[in-house]
Structure formats: structure tokens, C-alpha cells
Subunit: 337 residues, 2 copies
């Protein structure tokens, strides 16, 4: 198996990307190809000892920037690390593609270059949602599809469930529908209809999940439209940062507080760590014909490493093929009714 990674994507590229590859390579035997400006990447690689048969550089002269318009960038920057990387997946030279670059462009590139899985109406951008001290839930969709039909939400549930089963080795992941009440009759017309579709499906559907319960990890897959998913994700990030900075400020006011804070230093680190996404790997883009993973733009080497490690079961678990089969089976059931 060969992992392809965008060497130029994200705020800390290529230094942290390369460092993350070096660290991951120590734990796996798979090949890693880093796509990007050869000179810049080699400059970083020089700092480490590594197996040159395991890590290779594929030159890409161009870079898609975060400020680029996604669709335009994918169409015009053919020699960018992202486009070349995705083409390596399409051609079969690579098995999974990872990028910390422009999210919209990665989504658009996945769609244009790899195409949609037949039967999937709207591919989804997902995100790991950290549950304090208890792993993560997968949020589907996390912002790509603001407006959804009930069927899209069903597909999000199916894709998320398969991903969690294969990548996190879960038996029948619990799928919940983000809603404003527990009762089936709650929510918008779309959400009510999606509830019925999910209930009739063969997923392990645990029903509606209120936002209040989301941080407690009441389900493994949180199904919602991209507007709600993005709101959940961003609010959590903003709130967590706000609390941490409030705590930091308060706990350094006066000598007594400073001593108290010093005694609690390891606990404070645990608190900070509980918000850390980076150990859970990246965010899979589900519904495109190939494994594609977005890692956070601010990813450090540790996040890159875990992105790579979780990319392996994503590709080896044949998540893309299983999604395709599941959607096909769904259509057969529907047409048989």
C-alpha cells in the first residue's frame, strides 16, 4: 500500500508534514510519497535519517493556496501538489491521499478528479469530534453541504457508519441524527423525513441526538446538514479556546492561584489534551471514488502522523468499495419495494 501526502498544504508545510511522515514511517512498512516542491521538501527530509525506499518525493511545482477559489484552483492549477496527488489515486499509483491544504479545493478536486461513488448524491466532508477523555464521534457533514435532502442525510449515516466500523474497528457504530428534541416529530421537514429513512435502514440508528448530548459521545456518527455540522464544530472549537484562555488568565491572578495552578499542571495538560483532535487522524471526505483525508490546516507533525496511521485502515478496510456496495444494495431494496 502506498500513502500519498500533500507536502505543501497547511500552515506548517512542508516542515511539519515531512516530520510527520518521518515519524509515521517508523511505525509502518507502507510507502509514503510526498507531493510538492522537490527542493523545499528535500531540504526538510535532509534533517532526518529515513529509508529512501519508503519515503519518496514527487515533484509538483505549483501550490493551491487557502485564498484560492476552490473550483477555479483545481481546474487551473494542474501542476499543484493537490491535483497531482489526487491524480496519483485516480491512476492507481497511490491508495489514499492526505492533505492539510484548502478544504474546498480538496473537496472539489475529489469530486472532479476521482468522481462520486455511484448512488451517492452528495459527498460529505466529515470531522472527528473529540469527546472529552473518551475518543471521538464522526460528524457528517461538517460543512460541505449546507442544504440537504433527507436522502443525503441517510447517505451520510451509511458512509459514516462504514468508516467508523472499518477505521476504528467498531461493531455496529451508533448513528444519531442531530435534532432539537428527542421525539420523532421534532425538527424541520427534512430532518423529520431523514429520521424515518434512518429508522428504516439497517444502521444502528439511536434516534435523535440533542446538541446538549453531543459532547458526551452519545453516538459514534452524528448525522446533520453541513450548516448544523459546521456550527457544532466551530462553536465547540471557539468555546473550548475561550474557556482555556479564561482559565489561563484566572489561574495566574495572584500568588495563591499560581501555586494552585502549578500543582494542577498535569491536570491542566489533560484538560487541554482532551480537546485535541490530532490523535484521531484526519477528516475523511466520504462519497468520492477514492480515500481522501483532510487534516487540519494547522496540523503539526503529530497530527500528520496520526492522519497517516488512520489512512491505512481507511484504504485497507476498503471503505470506498463497501460504501459503493451498501448504496447499491439500498437502491435494490428501494426499487424492489
Amino acid at each position: 500500500m502506498r500513502i500519498i501526502i500533500d507536502g505543501m498544504g497547511g500552515d506548517n508545510a512542508p516542515a511539519e508534514i515531512v516530520k510527520g511522515c518521518i515519524e509515521a514511517a517508523k511505525e509502518i512498512t507502507h510507502e509514503i510519497w510526498i507531493v510538492g516542491r522537490e527542493e523545499a521538501i528535500n531540504e526538510e527530509l535532509k534533517k532526518y535519517k529515513y529509508n529512501k525506499e519508503q519515503i519518496r518525493v514527487i515533484h509538483a511545482p505549483d501550490v493551491i493556496e487557502n485564498t484560492d477559489s476552490p473550483v477555479k484552483a483545481v481546474r487551473s492549477k494542474k501542476e499543484s501538489s493537490m491535483v497531482i496527488g489526487l491524480n496519483l489515486i485516480k491512476s492507481g499509483s497511490g491508495d489514499v491521499f492526505i492533505s492539510a491544504g484548502n478544504t474546498g479545493a480538496l473537496m472539489a478536486g475529489g469530486l472532479f478528479i476521482l468522481g462520486r461513488i455511484p448512488g451517492i448524491d452528495r459527498p460529505a466532508l466529515t470531522s472527528p469530534y473529540p469527546i472529552m477523555g473518551k475518543g471521538m464521534s464522526l460528524l457528517v457533514d461538517a460543512g460541505a453541504n449546507s442544504e440537504c435532502k433527507p436522502n443525503n442525510l441517510l447517505e451520510f449515516g451509511i458512509m459514516g457508519s462504514i468508516y467508523m466500523e472499518k477505521v476504528f474497528d467498531m461493531d455496529r457504530p451508533r448513528v444519531g441524527l442531530a435534532n432539537i428534541g428527542a421525539e420523532e416529530t421534532k425538527g424541520t421537514t427534512v430532518v423529520k423525513a431523514a429520521h424515518q429513512l434512518l429508522k428504516k435502514s439497517n444502521l444502528n440508528f439511536v434516534g435523535n441526538v440533542e446538541a446538549r448530548e453531543v459532547p458526551y459521545g452519545v453516538c459514534d456518527v452524528i448525522v446533520c446538514d453541513g450548516f448544523v455540522g459546521n456550527t457544532i464544530l466551530k462553536l465547540t472549537e471557539g468555546f473550548a479556546l475561550n474557556i482555556l484562555s479564561f482559565v489561563k488568565k484566572k489561574f495566574t491572578e495572584g500568588l495563591k492561584s499560581k501555586i494552585g495552578a502549578a500543582l494542577l499542571l498535569d491536570k491542566m495538560k489533560e484538560l487541554k489534551g482532551a480537546f485535541d483532535y490530532s490523535n484521531y487522524g484526519g477528516a475523511p471526505i466520504l462519497g468520492v471514488k477514492g480515500p481522501v483525508i483532510k487534516i487540519h490546516g494547522s496540523s503539526n507533525a503529530n497530527a500528520v502522523k496520526h492522519g497517516i496511521l488512520k489512512a491505512i485502515p481507511f484504504a485497507e478496510g476498503k471503505v470506498v468499495q463497501i460504501i459503493e456496495e451498501a448504496v447499491l444494495a439500498l437502491e435494490e431494496v428501494e426499487s424492489g419495494e
Copy 2:
């Protein structure tokens, strides 16, 4: 001015309701009428010394429970504290009504008994959103209207702005539209159209507000549909409780931590207090023809007291009349175009 309060609503009624009235009465000269089962309320009142001309009990033999279906309850329980209380506002015997009872019933009762303000398509349930150590923002809508038209969102902005101006004495409150990106082109069709309406209005519209920024208090009024508003509110509550219980658990692990936590006790109280809604008064129901305030079902005496104190500028500031005039002016502008 006379404040009418539902003596039977909420988890701690009538004890904490009565106690809150007693405490509020010490700070104001306005009359307070407590509506509910006379015997039970008098039993509580007996515990305190108070001015019997200032606090009166209005007997209501029936109670709307939280488990009651809102519309049905309002229609059938004519002798309930909530229905009698709202009728006192309608008849002009009272100036503002406060309840910690069934939210749906209070919303339905407001609509059926008081009616909508002419020109307001959908009255809104609001909620104070606490900004850590920096007051609050008003979330409009907080859950009553899951599906909204652009015009509803504009009306939410107008109503919220007038409330914050009159009740919190703000000059041109900042109105933000909850969205998944800062650019005007972001979000759903409805949100994009609402952005344009808000931009053209004479509100102090600060543009789109991402969920990440909401906890920092970047605006005074957060405009959103009830699905998103409820998600923001409930996620914040759940996340805050989760963090507090995580911190409590971690900070009591081992002697070193316990000593550290003891030294930080006052700071921990400040942290907990920063999440406390109760000092900001209740949640006004905006768009009905009379000042109605929902206070949290779990309100203690302090929350009841602040609900009463903030009810005064709500009624005296003529928020309802000013909303009516603003909507009328809006319609004149529209028909004049």
C-alpha cells in the same frame, strides 16, 4: 406598573418563585402578583416579611405541566396559572408576564391570548447567551421556529435589537447573522437572502458571525433560525457541564491536585459563574402583543429575581410598541419602493 408571575411554573415552584419575588420586591416599588394555587403560595409567603400591598396572590386552581401538549393545554386549561396570567396582561391588569413553566405552552399562549404584533410573521423565542465574564448576547430564535424565511430572520434582528437597546440600555446593538463563513455568499439560500435584508436595514448589522466567534460576544444579537439557535444554546450548555464535571473529577485526583484545587477555589467559582445565565434575566418572547418572559425551568430564587428586574425595562421601555412601530415603518418603506 404591575408584574405578573406564574407561581406554579418550573421545577422549583412555588418555593423559589415566591422567594425570588420577595427578594425582587426589596429592590423595586412595583407591584408583583403571583398567580397560582393560593394555598400553596401563601404557605411559602408566610415564611417572609413583606409588604402585602406590593405582593398579592391571584388564585389559579390549575397548572400546565411540562409534559402537557402546549396547544392543547393552553386551550383546555383555562384556569391554569399560565392562562390566567396571560389574560391579566391582555386585560391590562398587568404589564409583563413571567413564567418558568412549559415553554411551548407559554409561546402558544402568548400567540393565542395576546396575539401577534401586526406585521410580525413569526414571534420568536429568545435566549440570553452568556459571554464568559462579559455579559450576554441575545439569541433570536432559540428554538421556536425551526424553518424560517429570510423575512423572519430580519424581524428577529429588529426585535432583538430593540430589546437589547431598551432593556440593556445599549446604543445601536450589534446584530450578527449566524453563518458558516464570513463572506456574504456563504450559507443556505435563506441565510444569503437574510444577509441582504439585514444589510439594507437600518440596524447596526455587523455581518455574518461564525459559531466559533459566538462565545466571544462579537455581537449583541445573534440572528438565526430556531434549529441553529437551539443547537448553539444546547451545545454550549452540554459542553460547559461536561467541562465542569471533567475538571471536578480531574482536580480531585490525588492529594496534590486537591491542594491545588483548594487554592483555586475562588477562581473555580468564577469559572462556574461565567456560565450562569441567571443574572441576565429571562428570555423574552418577542413578537407577541405584550411583554412575556420565559425563565429557565430550573430557576432558583436569584434567577426569578433577575427575571423580575429585567422585566421592568422590558415593559417600561415599551419594547412591544416600538417593535410594532419599527415593523410598520419597514412595511411603509417596502410598499414605497
